[in-house]
Amino acid sequence: MSIELVPYLFSFIAPFIASLIVFLLGKKRFIKESVSVLSIFLAILSTILCWSALSISDKTYLTFGKVFYIDGFSILMQLMVEFVALMVILYSFFYIPKVYNHRKDNFHNYYSAILLSTAFMNLSFIFNNLFLLYIALELSTIVAVYVIVFNLNKDSLRAGFKYIILINVGILFSLLGIILLFYMAGEPVMISNIGEVIKALPRNIALLSAFLFIVGFFTKAGLVPFHLWLPDSYSESPSSVTVFLAGGVTKLGFYGLVRTITGFSFNYEEIKILVIFLASLSMLIGAIVAFNQRDIKKVIAYVSISEMGFIASALVLKTYEGIFGGVFHLINHTLIKGALFFVAGAIVYSCESRNIENIKKAIGKMPTVITTSFFIGSLAVGGMPLFASFLSSITIFFALTEEGFLWASIVLIVSEFINAVVLLKTAIEIFWNKEKNEVSTISIPFLMLICTVFFVILLILFGIYPEIIYPLIDSATKGIIRILS
């Protein structure tokens, strides 16, 4: 590795150094905020540099020694996490000081933990060795627990404990899978050669390893039946952190899934059927359970579980369209959840409650931007035309049907419909059937509104002009298929 490669690695170096600076010197508001934003901008710049280097080269991937492996999918994941981290940090400038004022001495630790977790996530997206990927992935999970329990009340601590213990134990299964692969291959298993290793495995061992990876990465992604940590962590953490969890932390589970389980599903039909069955369970259970929730963030959390089922079912398909749809929905899921949880954050900011009954009593006239964003988010969850989620859902629908999983396509459509109904019902209850009729509009900080609107604008923009994002998704899809097929 030469020094010229360092700018490409700034995607994790910048947030890592910034987290140290903020931790040590970040008591002053200006330092923690400016350093955090600057480091994320540097990380984005580094990822864009990588993208341009990949675009001008003939290859579909970049390797730095045997340590790093960067393809379109790594770049897409990095960009997504960096964008989410930037939005979360900007949103937190006003949200955290008001809602969590009792922790004002620890605000710098909050930013530091987000930056450190982002750094580890970015690192795991470019590691070639599966063991190192596992280590970075687990560290990002562990660090994120600090921001989940930031409120330090009984419920948030319980949610944090559940999160860390369940994910750590779950992810140990995937470590067992990596050990098994290493033992069978007789050499370190790299992302660049995992396709060949999987093909050479005896059938029983392959099925066993795939099962271990499914347990590990499904737990990390929060898919049924390993989702127990997700609703509590989403609802008890600050809304900005919830966006970080939905848009970043759970996406690591999908990254692991794509790099390992997709390879098994390319070679073994049983694995594909098992994953699609579990994904369909996620779709249905998430949508049905969301109906009974009275906590606005839990409603969105269960809808999120349901939507993640769409992604998982698509990412194990053997066709270009299937993987393309899954990757596209991965982006859309981040945008939709970003918009919805930021709206939930604005509601918590003004009403100081997450309970729908309490919100109805306390809510005044919300800014139109907030109500519109919630409605757009709800319609996007339903996969309505004009939104990017329409394109991804329809692609997944056709890809599933083409591969003979008509039943899964029907489950997808039904759960999309239920999800949209649940969210629209919640929106009508909160914004129309409110018990308080105030004439004056509630004041929500401008930056919080901007962050929310940004997610919504991208959702519409990618829906109307999908060609903006298509090259990146195409590169990611080709990257995935190249390794595994």
């Binding site: 060795n129 063991f131 190192l132 596992y134 280590i135 687990e138 560290l139 562990i142 627990v145 600090y146 329990v149 330090l152 009340n153 009984k154 601590l157 319980r158 944090g160 404990f161 860390i164 213990i165 750590n168 134990v169 140990l172 470590l175 067992l176 050990i179 098994l180 290493f182 033992y183 370190p188």
Partner: protein, 212 residues
């Protein structure tokens, strides 16, 4: 070696099934010391000097640091286990069955299918399975941490038995991850204990003011 493996399983049984949390944590000390001995012997017998480093690391982390960290969790709480989801006598019976028959079956599986792995494989897989059983059957926060510790020890054994010549920095990093996870768990547990104590004091104050 067989006796050491059985001793490791016996002490993990004590750690998992005794009601006294103090005794559970103390049982982890001989459990971990035997692990250190096994790693050292495997390193010596198979001529893998890098395993000596892992043995020293295990001694510091698993036999000394972990019990100290877990003992910290006993601050501000009762030292008896919260009622588990499976009744205690049944849980003891299940543990004995799982550890003895599980070990026997894993040993049979090993000798017929993967005879080349190092002998600690059976003990490692049994520890992993037993730790997972404890994890789903226990409701006490500290017991769940102990079960996580046992699962991790099982994985550690499996790495050593299946890929003894794996680059050691990876193993050191995995141990580092484990330590960081335990530190965060201890932090959460301590904060929760503080909240429970505060709630109890408030309840007591309320009841005494009602009486007066």
């Amino acid at each position: 070696m067989e006796i050491i493996y059985i001793a490791i399983l016996f002490f993990s049984f004590l750690a998992g099934e005794t009601k006294s949390l103090k005794f559970s944590i103390l049982s982890l000390v001989p459990h971990s010391i035997f692990i250190v001995i096994v790693v050292f012997i495997i390193g010596y017998v198979n001529n893998i000097p890098s395993l000596y480093l892992i043995a020293v690391l295990d001694l510091v982390v698993r036999a000394i640091l972990m019990p100290i960290l877990l003992f910290k969790c006993l601050k501000n709480r009762v030292e008896t286990e919260t009622k588990p989801s499976i009744s205690h006598p049944l849980s003891i019976a299940l543990s004995i069955v799982l550890l003895s028959i599980g070990y026997h079956f894993v040993e049979m599986f090993k000798s017929s299918y993967i005879p080349h792995v190092i002998s600690s494989f059976s003990s490692g897989l049994t520890l992993f399975l037993y730790g997972f059983y404890l994890f789903i059957s226990k409701r006490d926060i500290l017991k769940m941490m102990i079960s996580f510790f046992i699962i991790e020890n099982g994985i550690h054994f499996l790495i050593i038995s299946m890929i003894p010549r794996m680059p050691k920095f990876i193993e050191v990093l995995i141990t580092f991850n484990f330590v960081v996870a335990i530190i965060f768990l201890v932090y959460i547990s301590l904060r929760l204990n503080e909240i429970f104590v505060r709630e109890e004091i408030e309840k007591l104050k309320k009841s005494s003011s009602q009486r007066s």
